[in-house]
Amino acid sequence: MFSGIPLFPEQGSTIAADVDALYLFIVAVTAFFGILVTVVVLYFGVKYRTNDPMAVGERIHGSIPLELAWSIIPFLITIVIFIWSADIFFHIQRPPDQTLEIYATGKQWMWKFQHLNGQAEINELHVPMGRPVRITFTSEDVLHSLSLPAFRVKADAIPGRYSSLWFEATGVGEYHLFCAEYCGTKHSGMVGRIVVMEPTAYQEWLSGTIEGTMADRGARLFSDLACNTCHLEDGRGRGPSLVDRFGATEMMADGGARVVDEAYLRESILTPQARLVAGYQPLMPTFQGIVSEESVMALIEYVKSLETAAVAAAGETGHEAAEAAGH
């Protein structure tokens, strides 16, 4: 009867085994102390029991060595857990340099995923096995949380900013995808599946009917919304040039510097007055309410694609190349 009940989730990602190992260690520690104290209490309760209402116990006030021992030793054990755990946490929070990028938005009550090549999915996400995948996402309304239990990763989707999580799937199959932050009526309906495929099968699936990549869509938006009238490529327009800017460091009007990443680009599109690039006037209108979160992501992919031949020829896309170009 009990054979069908899962007691432990599948290990679907490279980090899952590490998380499970730490988990089991903590189980062992808690079991040890739990059983120890339980046994001691029950033993004392039985051994020293008496029905005499007027009996008294022995006068023992305490023991400093014992107090120190049972403060320091548990503390040291928690330090071990803390350090081990922090190590895993860094690994979970810091994606490797090269990841397959996927964008997503959560909204009441569905998840929308966008692959770079323009392929869109709802409540379902196809990913290749054996390759690090990074999902960058936000919420269009209230808090949500993207939870992938088999991969042991989770992050909240917060309206107004980007979150990301990454994983490398280790086995072909289908796994649960949940929303893990209460978001209203259909919170428990905001579920789906993540489908891990062999890399070649994934490529085949990817080239199904699509109408242009995300970057293509972004290019169309860039001209439809007249961004190209200020952001001239030679930098002499009313706004800074966006060529080779992604991953570079921009000098701000207030003297500080910002790395041009996804969050910065999103902020620049939606709240341009928040931060000004040095040497330019605060002329950019806000596109809040004019572009959807998904369109913002498409525009970001377009800006990422704006590389000069020299940079592209360096062979890598993304941050490393832009820095190598001397920005």
């Binding site: 339980t38 004392f44 020293y48 023992i60 928690t78 239990p149």
Partner: protein, 554 residues
């Protein structure tokens, strides 16, 4: 061979009265009978009972919601109630239990009743303020009940924005107002207790002669005073944003929804220490009384209460590890969370050590205390998982967390409350309840509780998220076990109500000190005089001075 029994000094244990005839004493219960004498009382003992009435009602209300939740979750489909109704139920369960049961239970009921007695005082420092606190509590409760019956609220007891400020169509304002108002009752009670402890101790009752319950209540009062105002302003800000449209957390204006979480948890984490410290204090009293020796490591236990209160303010963002806080912030909060676990561990070890070479009298309060130890242990230890960053990413917002906090709050705080209630019941009512039935109830509650929440740890690690109305089929068996356990738990609680009420009707008279315990509260009659003591007590010895009895265990 037993040594000869000898009674201790006569003042400590008055001779046992003839237990079949209720003596015609004047007590705080019978000296005035009118409704006005209750509703306008300034007697801390009556006020404690007034709180008990409201809190017990809130407990059953929250319990009804819990019953509906567990009934719905027995099947994977949402077949009992609609999704919206379910969301309201878990919200209202949380609101009722957190704000109207767990926070006030031990401090406002047992604290109010026992604290002045333990200190040898006639009342608390500000009796009128004490009564006002009760009225504030009731008004807050009424607002909340009003919100519940006129449509309910579905934001979760945590009221996260932007759902609560913009999206929810339910009675967020009324509930928020109820919570806001009730917070002041908590603040004023904490203030009252602090001043009482500072200024109204009996002659000779120095700080380190205080019973540990007083230390616990003192530490709790610190938290109530420092923490509760922050939830007040948070809920007020939420209400203003929702009602007037003032952007404070609204991302469309550049506001930060996560700021709400910081402000909310800055109180709500220390709040859990408000919930657990006083029950821990009660446990110290019970274990000392039924081991008939001093708590092992008295000053360590006393200081650990203060340490928990202070450190408790430094860990709030461990509820937010994946809410977008930086990795470095997460590291700091995780580390501090482990630090705050240590004083609780120290207490647990000291309690166990107290039993060593004690004269253990296994009466009902002690059984409840031992049950507390078992459940609190699991609750506390499972905190190690959620404090662990690498594992918490997976466990956050799953049933693991639900199981963890129920073990602490119900298995810890509620069990501690019942241990204290069973211990001081004879003092409060002047009656003894059935010891056998009380032990049976303890066992039923212990078993039911473990069955309800044990499976939830497994569900959580499997990934089942919290606050889910429907769930994948593979989670059903564990959910059914949990729901079965809940029904056993409910029976246990109902049983408690039965024998306690029965004791009032026909329990035998308790006498001053049925447990032969130390402590000033046991030197006066049961139920106590309206003004507590016939003469001002003077303290000349340490707390738990059982050795003065000159009797040893045979």
């Amino acid at each position: 061979m037993r040594e000869a029994l000898r009674q201790g000094p006569a003042e400590r244990d008055k001779p046992v009265m003839d237990s079949t005839i209720a003596s015609p004493q004047v007590t705080y219960l019978n000296h005035e009978h009118t409704l006005a004498s209750w509703l306008l009382t300034k007697d801390h003992k009556r006020i404690g009972l007034l709180y008990m009435g409201v809190v017990t009602f809130a407990f059953f209300l929250g319990g009804i919601f819990a019953t509906l939740i567990r009934m719905e979750l027995a099947t994977p489909a949402g077949d009992l109630v609609s999704a919206d109704t379910y969301n309201k139920m878990f919200t209202m369960h949380g609101v009722a239990m957190v704000f109207f049961v767990l926070i006030p239970a031990v401090p406002a009921i047992l604290g109010n009743f026992i604290l002045p007695l333990m200190l040898g005082a006639k009342d608390v420092a500000f009796p009128k303020l004490n009564l006002l606190s009760w009225y504030i509590f009731v008004i807050g409760f009424l607002f909340t009940v009003y919100a519940m019956v006129t449509g309910g609220v579905d934001t979760g007891w945590t009221f996260y924005t932007p759902y609560s400020s913009q999206a929810s169509n339910t009675n967020v304002m009324a509930t928020g107002l109820g919570v806001f108002i009730t917070g002041f009752a908590s603040i004023l009670t904490g203030l009252n207790f602090m001043v009482t402890i500072h200024r109204m101790r009996a002659p000779g009752l120095t700080w380190f002669r205080l019973p540990l319950f007083v230390w616990a209540v003192y530490a709790t009062s610190l938290v109530q005073i420092l923490g509760t105002p922050v939830i007040a302003i948070t809920v007020l800000a939420l209400a203003i944003e929702r009602f007037l449209g003032f952007p404070i957390f609204d991302p469309a204006n550049g506001g930060d929804p996560v700021l709400f979480q910081h402000m909310f948890w800055f109180y709500s984490h220390p709040a859990v220490y408000i919930m657990i410290l006083p029950p821990m204090g009660a446990i110290s009293e019970v274990i000392a009384a039924f081991s008939r020796k001093s708590i092992f490591g008295y000053s360590f236990v006393a200081f650990s209460s203060l340490a928990i209160a202070v450190f408790g303010f430094l860990v709030w963002a461990h509820h937010m590890f994946i809410s977008g806080i930086s990795v470095y912030a997460a590291l700091v909060f995780s580390f501090l969370t482990y630090a705050v676990a240590i004083p609780s561990a120290v207490k647990t070890f000291n309690w166990a050590a107290t039993m060593y070479k004690g004269a253990i009298w296994l009466k009902a309060p002690m059984i409840w205390a031992i049950a507390f130890l078992g459940l609190f242990l699991v609750g506390g230890l499972t905190g190690l998982f959620t404090a662990s960053l690498g594992v918490d990413v997976h466990l956050h917002d799953t049933y693991f967390v639900v199981a963890h906090f129920h073990f602490i709050m119900v298995g810890g705080a509620i069990m501690g409350y019942f241990a204290g209630l069973h211990y001081w019941w004879p003092k409060i009512t002047g009656r003894m309840y059935s010891d056998i039935w009380a032990k049976v109830a303890a066992v039923i509650v212990f078993v039911g509780f473990n069955l309800t929440f044990g499976p939830q740890f497994i569900l959580g690690y499997l990934g089942m998220p919290r606050r889910y109305h429907v769930y994948p089929e593979e989670f059903q068996v564990l959910n059914v076990l949990s729901s079965a356990g809940a029904s056993i738990l409910a029976l246990g609680y109902i049983l408690i109500a039965i024998y306690l009420v029965a004791s009032i009707i026909r329990g035998e008279a308790a006498g001053n000190n049925p447990w032969h315990a130390t402590g000033l509260e046991w030197t006066t009659q049961s139920p106590p005089l309206p003004h507590n003591f016939a003469e001002q007590p003077v303290v000349t010895e340490e707390a738990y001075a059982y050795e003065k009895r000159e009797v040893t265990v045979g």
